[in-house]
Symmetry: C2
Subunit: 417 residues, 2 copies
C-alpha cells in the first residue's frame, strides 16, 4: 500500500464534495493481443465533433492554447524562411529545435543531447519508431493499466502482445508486478507514461523511477517513456523523465507539443540515446522528415519565451479546472464514485460503482450530445466497464459544467436501476 498524502488543492472545497481516489486495479498482470475496434473509432470520431460537449476528449481545446499568437508567429516564419520551409528537413529534424529541446532538458535535470534527439510527426511517430526499433512482432510489451487506446491500437498494429500492469492512481505501476510479469511473460519492452499518465494522471516518484531503471537494466528490458504531459505539472517542479536515471542510453524518451501548444502542428521528438542512428534511418524511410515549417515555428515560439509564458497560465487553468471537476463529480455522480486527483496533466479517471455500465452511459450521453471516454477503450482485455475518463483541458463554461452535471445525473439514474 502506497502513501497517499492529502492533496493541497481541495482545502476550500467542502470535504464531502470531493470523491475518494480509486484503488489500484486488483487483477494480476494480464497478457493479451489487443483488439481495439469499432468502439475506439466511435469515441475518436465523437471527440472531433464540434457540436458535442467534449467532457473526455484527448485533445486540448484551442481556446486554452496560444492559438492566435502561435499562428501569427507561424505566418511570420513562413514568410521570412520561405525557401527553408519548402525544402526537405533532415530526417533527424531542424537543428535549432533540437538544440532548444536539449537546453530545456538541462533545466529539467535530465540532460538530453541535441544529437540524440530525433524530431517526429508528433509523439505518436516517436513511439511507433521506438517500438519498431526495439521489438519485433510477437514480443510482449508491458504497459500501465488503464492505458490510452491509441497506444493499445499501435501495439495491435505492430503485432505486439500487451501485458497490462496494475497501476496506482498516484504513483504509477507496481514494480513488484512488473518484475513478476517480465519473468512470466518474457517482456521485451515497457511502454510507460511515468508523468501524469493518460488516463489515471499518476506520477512516479523519483525513487521509484530510479528503481525502475535498475530493474529494467538488470532484466535487459528496454524502456520507452512517453513524456508528453511532463510540462503540465500543476505545481512545483517539472518531474524529471525516467531517462534522468539511466546511465546506459537505453531509455527512449518521447515528447511532443501536441498537449501543450498545438496538436495540429504534429511536432514531437524522441531522445533516443543509443538507438538514435537506427531511428534516424527508420524515420528517413517512413516519413522522410517532419514538415519543416511546424518545426521552425515551434523553435521560434520556444526561443521567444512564448511557450514558457503560455505554460504558466495553462497550468493554472488546469489546476483550477480539476478542482471544479472534482467538486461537480462529487456532487452529482452516484454515491461511491471515486476519482483520481492528479498533480499534473489533463485527465482524471472516474470509477463508478461496479454495476454502473459506462458503455450504456456513453449511449445515453451521446443522445444528449455529451461525449466522454468510456473505460473499456483503455484496456486490451475488456476491463473498466464502470469507469470513464474526463478531461479538464477544456474551457470551464456553463455549457461544460451543465453537461457534466447531466452526465452525473444520468450515471445516478443508472446506478439506481
Amino acid at each position: 500500500v502506497e502513501v497517499r498524502p492529502q492533496s493541497g488543492h481541495y482545502v476550500k472545497l467542502r470535504a464531502a464534495s470531493v470523491p475518494a481516489e480509486p484503488e489500484a486495479v486488483k487483477l494480476p498482470a494480464a497478457r493479451c493481443v489487443p483488439r481495439m475496434g469499432e468502439l475506439v473509432l466511435r469515441v475518436l470520431s465523437a471527440g472531433r465533433e464540434p457540436k458535442k460537449v467534449q467532457l473526455g476528449s484527448g485533445a486540448v481545446d484551442p481556446e486554452l492554447l496560444p492559438t492566435r499568437r502561435l499562428m501569427k508567429l507561424t505566418a511570420a516564419v513562413a514568410r521570412v524562411h520561405a525557401e527553408r520551409c519548402v525544402r526537405y528537413e533532415a530526417p533527424e529534424g531542424a537543428k535549432e529545435l533540437r538544440t532548444l529541446l536539449a537546453r530545456r532538458s538541462v533545466e529539467w535535470g535530465c540532460p538530453m543531447r541535441a544529437d540524440e534527439i530525433v524530431i517526429t510527426t508528433g509523439a505518436m511517430e516517436a513511439m511507433e519508431l521506438s517500438l519498431r526499433a526495439t521489438t519485433k512482432a510477437g514480443d510482449a510489451v508491458a504497459v500501465e493499466s488503464p492505458t490510452v487506446y491509441w497506444l493499445l491500437q499501435l501495439l495491435e498494429q505492430l503485432g505486439l502482445v500487451v501485458v497490462e500492469l496494475p497501476t496506482y492512481p498516484r504513483h504509477g505501476i507496481c514494480l513488484d508486478e512488473l518484475e513478476a510479469a517480465i519473468t512470466a511473460h518474457d517482456v521485451k519492452a515497457c511502454l510507460l507514461v511515468p508523468s501524469f499518465n493518460n488516463p489515471l494522471g499518476s506520477c512516479m516518484p523519483d525513487e521509484k523511477r530510479r528503481d525502475l531503471v535498475a530493474l529494467l537494466a538488470a532484466k535487459k528490458v528496454t524502456l520507452i517513456e512517453d513524456d508528453v504531459y511532463g510540462d503540465l505539472h500543476h505545481d512545483g517542479a517539472r518531474p524529471r523523465p525516467v531517462k534522468a536515471f539511466d546511465e546506459r542510453g537505453e531509455v527512449l524518451t518521447c515528447g511532443s507539443f501536441s498537449k501543450t501548444l498545438a496538436p495540429g502542428l504534429r511536432v514531437g521528438f524522441v531522445a533516443a540515446g543509443a538507438w538514435r542512428d537506427r531511428l534516424v534511418l527508420m524515420k528517413g524511410s517512413q516519413t522522410g522528415a517532419t514538415a519543416t515549417l511546424p518545426q521552425l515555428a515551434v523553435a521560434e515560439f520556444l526561443r521567444s519565451g512564448g511557450y514558457d509564458h503560455h505554460l504558466r497560465s495553462f497550468r493554472r487553468v488546469l489546476r483550477l479546472n480539476l478542482q471544479r471537476l472534482s467538486a461537480v463529480v462529487g456532487e452529482t455522480f452516484p454515491e461511491g464514485t471515486r476519482m483520481t486527483r492528479p498533480a499534473g496533466g489533463m485527465f482524471s479517471w472516474v470509477e463508478m460503482p461496479d454495476h454502473v455500465d459506462a458503455l450504456a452511459l456513453f449511449e445515453r450521453a451521446d443522445a444528449q450530445r455529451i461525449m466522454f471516454a468510456p473505460g473499456p477503450v483503455f484496456s486490451a482485455s475488456g476491463r473498466y466497464r464502470n469507469c470513464l475518463r474526463l478531461s479538464f483541458a477544456q474551457p470551464w463554461t456553463d455549457r461544460f459544467e451543465n453537461a457534466l452535471r447531466t452526465l452525473g445525473k444520468l450515471a445516478r439514474e443508472q446506478a439506481r436501476t
Copy 2:
C-alpha cells in the same frame, strides 16, 4: 524488343551530341534482402549540402518552385484558420484537400473517390502504410530495377525481400519477367513507379498498364503505385495511373506534392480503394494525422489555380533542362555513354562504359564539391557500378553547367585509365 519512337525534343540539337538510350538490364530478376548502408546515407547527406553543386539530387530546387507565392498563401491560411490549424485533423486528412484531389483525378481519367483517399506525411508514409497493410515481414515484393534507394531502404526496414525486375528505359518493367518472378519468388506485392520513374524516367503505355492489372489480378498480387511524378509529363496529357484500369479496388495509388510544390510541407496521399479503412486505422496510430496547416495550404493553392499555373511553367523548364543536359552529357561524357530520354519527371539515368566506376567518380567529384547519385544506390544487389542518376530539376546556371562539364571530364579521364 520494344518500339522506341524518336523523341521530338531533340530536332534542334546536333544528332551527334545526344547520347543513345540504354538497353534494359539483361540480368534475370534477382531476389535479395536489401542492405542499404553507409553509401546511401552519404549520398543523402551530400544531397542536402548547399555548398555542393547538386547534379543528382532527389529534391527539386526551391527556385523552380512557387516558393514565395506558396509561403505567402500558407501564412495567410495560418492567420485566417488559426484555430483549425491548431487542432488535430482527422487521420484520413482534410476533407477539402481530399475533395480537390478527387476532382483532379477525374481530369486524369482515373476517378478516385474523396472517401478512399488518405492524406499522409508525404508519399513516403503513403507507401510505408500501403506496404505494411498488404505484406508481412519475409514477403517478396517486386520492384523496377534500378529503383530509388529510399524505397529499397523502406523494404529493408520492413523486413521484406526484394525482387528486382529488368526495366525498359522507355516502357517500364518487362511483364514476362514479372510473371515469371511472381511464380519463381512467390511475389506478394509490386511496388512500381509506372509514370516517369526514379531514376530511369520510364513510363508504361496504357496498353501495358491494362495488361499489368490483368496479370496481377489473375495472380492475386497487390499493386502499390507510386505516382509522384505523374504531374510532370513534359508534353501532352498526364499519364493515367494504373489504378484507372483496376476494377477491383486492389491498386493503391500514392502521390504527393513533394516533387511538384514543396517537399518540406510533407503532404502526400494514397487512394487506397478496398484498403482504405485499414490504412486509416494504421495512420491513426502511426502519426495520428498529417499536420493541418500544410494540408490546408496545399488545398488553397490547388483551389486558387496556383498549382496548375506553376505546373505549366515547371514542365517547360524540365523539358528544356533535359535537352540541355542531354547535349552536355553527349558532348562531355566518355564515348559509348548512354542516357535515358524520359518524356516526364526530373531524372535521367546515365550508363557509362562498363569499366567506368561510378563510386570512384563520386569520390573525385565530391572533392570538387560536385554531387550526383551513383548507380549502386539504386540496387539492392549491387548492380550499376558504371551508372549514375542526374537531375534536371535544378536551375540551369553556369555553375550547374560547368559542374556537369567537369563531371563529364572526370568520367572521360576515368574511362581512359
